[in-house]
Amino acid sequence: MKPVIVVHGGAGKIVKELDETYRLGVKRAVLKGYDVLRQGGSALTAVEEAVIVMEDEPIFNAGHGSVLNEKGYIEMDAIIMDGKNLDSGAVSAVRNIANPIKLARLVMEKTDHMLLTCEGATLFAKAQGIPETPNDTLITERSRKRWMKNLKENSNPIADQIGLG
């Protein structure tokens, strides 16, 4: 079987000036994942590695660069699934970690559960030795400005962002 990998960086609005940054981001991610596959690695590790690249790239809304909630901090969600045996792991509303996808994989591999949320996910991350990443270091200036703009406009964030990832 010839390996194949596809990645996406979200379906939200892309500012034309950042077009190239998005292209470079998804390119780096897909090549990282493909490298894993070319060396005989599993699809599971390939998708995890690809997503980690994008979580670490501030242009994308995941990990470092995530958008802020109404209170001004980051809550992140992630899921991973293995098509071989339908195993899956997920985390939701998790805070203060850099790579939620790594935690999702640990939920899949180290627990009998499918989804850990909020404080439970944070406690599990600590128990698994995942280093705490302060919220401020995950927040980008772009995310903060967008959050403040929404606050000032007193807009309805859900209605205003229909279709955005």
Binding site: V7, G63, L68
Partner: protein, 134 residues
């Protein structure tokens, strides 16, 4: 939101999706990403899907699993993605996108929004796009 789907040399498939959610979202709001079948699904017998878009709409139609259901009925990844995204648009007025690979290694990146950044590699060939038609 970011995501990935892949098939490896042994024919095993996987998906992964990660997100910060909606800007200024309510504390505790969880969208589609963490929900199996909505933000992603992988089954070696059919394919792997990762989705992005308006989370509440994706959850209402369980988009990733819906797309795989269409593939089980014989549709190609591209046809299944179109069918799933069209269903979401017509039933709940939601837009978004999906990346898919099937057990034959066929893949697609489709979206009903104006843009979605994506990239793919098959046969050592790199493909990248953002806008419709790329």
């Amino acid at each position: 939101t970011v995501g990935a789907v892949a098939i490896d040399c042994e024919g095993n498939m996987a998906c992964a999706t990660s997100t910060g959610g909606l800007t200024n979202k309510m504390v505790g709001r969880v969208g589609d990403t963490a929900c199996i079948g909505s933000g992603g699904y992988a089954d070696n017998n059919v394919g792997a899907v990762s989705t992005t878009g308006h989370g509440e709409s994706i959850m209402k139609v369980i988009l990733a699993r819906l797309i795989l259901h269409y593939m089980e009925q014989g549709k190609s990844p591209e046809e299944a993605a179109d069918a799933g995204l069209n269903y979401m648009k017509s039933r709940v007025e939601g837009t978004g996108g999906a990346i898919i690979v099937n057990s034959s290694g066929d893949w697609t990146a489709k979206f009903s929004t104006n843009q979605m950044s994506w990239a793919a590699v098959k046969d050592d060939q790199l493909h990248i796009g953002i806008y419709h038609g790329e």
